[in-house]
Symmetry: C2
Subunit: 157 residues, 2 copies
Amino acid sequence: MKVSSRGEYALRALLVLGQHEGQVVSISDISEKTLITVNYLEQILLQLKKLGYVQSKRGSQGGYSLRLNPEEINIGEVIRNIEGPLSPMGCASITAYEPCPLESKCLLKPLWTLVRDTISHVLEQTTLHDLLHQNMGEWNGGKFLVKTHRPDHRRLM
Amino acid sequence: MKVSSRGEYALRALLVLGQHEGQVVSISDISEKTLITVNYLEQILLQLKKLGYVQSKRGSQGGYSLRLNPEEINIGEVIRNIEGPLSPMGCASITAYEPCPLESKCLLKPLWTLVRDTISHVLEQTTLHDLLHQNMGEWNGGKFLVKTHRPDHRRLM
DNA sequence: TAAATCTTGACTGGGTTAATCGGTTTTAAA
DNA sequence: TTTAAAACCGATTAACCCAGTCAAGATTTA
């Protein structure tokens, strides 16, 4: 049930950009902060650019910056875009369904469906903004609590 | 976030054995019902045997049978044993923790921890017996409901 | 004893992942 | 106008893991 390093790295890069919103950050700077090699980061950032999450400025003093607000960047969507469907099995995937000859009498499909729903539920309700502010859902006493603490920024100013 | 075919196959095999509790089922019979090649099944059943989930009877009329009651076979544990930790990242794993140089200031670890907790919660409260009777937890209106329907066998008899 | 069946270990082919590398283009600043 | 800093791009590689195959051996039952 692993997340690929590519997925992890994409999120790391987005977080760094989110921590420097409005600024342009060079690949080598991102590399330092994320411990990802420059060459590999290039690939990943390019992909994030094609996906529309970030924008780039070429040439000297160039670099990357977020193209969307952190609130608009959905973590589940990012992971799906970078490394494919969240579902643990093709038979339970909505976005990349694959038929299975056993399916009709399969006792496992409901389990995989439940796991898929569970993972989606957690990842799709989390945004980059939530990660930046460590505002997460949580498990408490056997129940999953959705976003206990959503700070109101207007009141904080 | 895929489950390996090996994990899926192990569960398929256990389900077939659970459907024939008390009987000895040959590898080739299991193969027919699960659509897994005999040679590959051999490997997987042997592993399940070493793990203590099943027992074998050699020679003519031999085969495999469950060694534990379906209620005692925890799906989360099976998957962990077959394909390693449930956690999406080593840094969030309890059973196979791997340190990460970024860890102290990492904004992702809480996310991976949440995902790990969530997956564990679903898989570890499901037993082979639950799968056989399709008695699953479920998501309902944004909340995760634990085991809505636990049949009381004494009353059903 | 023969047939059925599990046991064991070696092996292979393919796919994916995680990078690496070299060169090109663009841009800002000196 | 030169130069250096940076993004862009495509090809390639190295390693690993997964899925599955294969062959030979050991054990039991009929």
